[in-house]
Symmetry: C2
Subunit: 462 residues, 2 copies
Amino acid sequence: MKGIFAVLLCGASCVCQGQTYPDSVMMERIYATSFVDGEAYKNLRYLTKEIGHRIAGSPQAGEAVQWSRSLMQELPFDRVYLQDVKVPYWERGAKEEAFILPTREPLKVLALGGSVATPAGGLEAEVIEVELLSELRRYGDAVAGKIVFVNKPWDESIVETGVAYGLNSSQRSRGPAEAAKLGAVAYLFRSLSSSPDDDFPHTGGTRYVKGIDSIPALAISAVAANRLSEVLKENPKTRIHIKNASRWNGMVDTHNVIAEWTGSEKPDEIITIGGHIDSWDVGEGAHDNGTGTMGTLDAIRTLMKLGYKPKHTIRLVFYMNEENGVHGATRYGEAARDKKERLVAAIESDAGGFAPRGFDIKSSAEKVAWIQQHWKPLFEQKFWVSRFFAGSPGVDSGVWGQHFPNTMMFNFRPDPHRYFDIHHTDKDVFEAVDRRELQSGVAALASLLYLLDQQIDEIGQK
Amino acid sequence: MKGIFAVLLCGASCVCQGQTYPDSVMMERIYATSFVDGEAYKNLRYLTKEIGHRIAGSPQAGEAVQWSRSLMQELPFDRVYLQDVKVPYWERGAKEEAFILPTREPLKVLALGGSVATPAGGLEAEVIEVELLSELRRYGDAVAGKIVFVNKPWDESIVETGVAYGLNSSQRSRGPAEAAKLGAVAYLFRSLSSSPDDDFPHTGGTRYVKGIDSIPALAISAVAANRLSEVLKENPKTRIHIKNASRWNGMVDTHNVIAEWTGSEKPDEIITIGGHIDSWDVGEGAHDNGTGTMGTLDAIRTLMKLGYKPKHTIRLVFYMNEENGVHGATRYGEAARDKKERLVAAIESDAGGFAPRGFDIKSSAEKVAWIQQHWKPLFEQKFWVSRFFAGSPGVDSGVWGQHFPNTMMFNFRPDPHRYFDIHHTDKDVFEAVDRRELQSGVAALASLLYLLDQQIDEIGQK
């Protein structure tokens, strides 16, 4: 190991002295540095274990902002600053409860993010179970006074779990308003979990619609959903009890955390890289999105350690409030638009810290083809990274990208198999992250950043 | 989910009725069946939790043989049989111990597979630490009476952990003989672990050489190796105590487990698929190689469930004794050679049950290129399987392949990041396997088997 390090240090100093290497050699150096000397895992441990989960507006989110800034200040960035953002602060309050009546058999539930509270003593009602919200219509007036229970099982047959998630996530966000329109008193939503045996409830954002009553909205674990469904088949008049004490605390001042590494040739052309620093208020926000923030930071640190000097300005952004409002990315986009910044490319990491598989690319078909031809071969065989397909940007880039339709965007794609087992649950903890997988992702991000900085002008000609 | 199932069942019956589908549609059916209805995970639970680890020759290995046969007999194979194999039966005996003297500070150790015992009360000696066996020469006579401690850290910089493993594994097998040649009384080997913070010792095969004393050989955890090295730096005269009670029980009768699904067009041309059923005698042999056996069996079951009728004979082989002798694969090869069988292709799974990444292919460059051109596009974007490079076969196929140099061989490659953290340790248990990753691998194996059966004659023309 010592031997390898000596080579790396030599490499770094050689780059400093203006020597250049073939891309493949630079990438070998990046990977070796990340695996041997990476700090993403160590930093993730601090973020998850010392700060913990950090919903936007919370004291923990504030602590994450200050600590992230101090991390960035320790590195040779040219500028580190906070960008003011106002976010809505939603607080869960006392632990939710739900049980079947009259046996009081418990059901594992978790309020959906943004839910209003039940009355202090909870509420009791009969339940109407459907797979799809569209089925509610046929119940007509019978919905009034009841709890609507949307129990659509995850489509296990789909390899890419993000696609299966997307098939059903709109029922989570639209559900409370659609149920309330028909007079429902609460909304119960089968958790979006890729594991059929999962007894953890998965939270996630929901929303209300002006002019329609806001009713309490809870996620129920897959196992509890199956159980409740079974009970309802035996007795459709079964009543259940639910209690939830969450509340809105109004708008709170907080920040995006930003660091800039000024380009030596085109300082006004900016490559944005980052992910969201907030999380849901369960687990530790490890894969969502501790790995995305600590990973992108470590990708830049890796290039710095190798003595790299960027041609374009590289800007690291930790967005606030992706989970329940996206106010951080909105603010970033508006500020950049007002300053007429030249945001030439963007990389986002917000799909977990599993083994890196590639990047979805939002760009013209010609540019995607150019990347497949020139960059994929650098990654594919040796580094096990092979996905360079056209696709959508991450949530935060997508939001600010509305003002920058021509920015080439890269959405980091780690392996998708395990993500939606732990997503938005108490299972999303540091221990669910593997160091080699995380640092392999750091190296993939650093390699892409390097290639973009070196060759983006060449792609731009296409 | 019910909706999807209905489609699948229709699909299956359609195939039965002789309809054919494009390969991409057949693969969608394979993946959906494996994810929704796969049994590899369930069977793996039985193998690991009810039978447990199963070193060749042990009662558990015998139980695994009988149970595997019964699993195969439940499926519509045309023939299920046991192939006699003689294997050496090595037994660990009472738990090993090691500690530093005079403090008795413990060191985590595990006898290497095949090691002889120490004297009943253990042995004590000074330690000579080297990174490489080749360094021993410079110690000359000083080695006599000492314990040789090979402490070479894992090369973390290499993405493909199997390559890093290969760089050092020969020191595990050659070590005891080379140390004994110089008069060493025991051999202590730093565990081959990809995790620098690993305090689990990793066992693995070693071997003695006729005419050179057999000395006790133990693996020491990475953490304990670091600690011992530190102590030796302070006091090179430090003595340690080790004790090991393992023994050889001679040759034992056991079996390969084989099932055949006869081809409808070319029954004499055989595609072999399988992996080894034995394991080391620690943990539960989950990734090594419960996933390989249960996965290949489930790949065939998936095709059967879809009503598929193979053109060539598909032969499932659970090899005995891959870990310490490869006698099962040797026997399989000799029997096939003697019968002049036509083994046209082989698939082996023995690299864990992590997310499938592809297959290493042993064949001509032309055939590999043909597969990259025709099959890779079927797997790559939709199913996240993209590695179809020339490479080596698995250990068992490699051994019997010596008699069949023209057999096209496929070595299943799951994600490599986590394998060598748990390999050959008490960490290799059922809980380390993810259901979706495993069933995704089953689908990849079934898809390759299907494509081979359909198109191998076409590749053969190249």
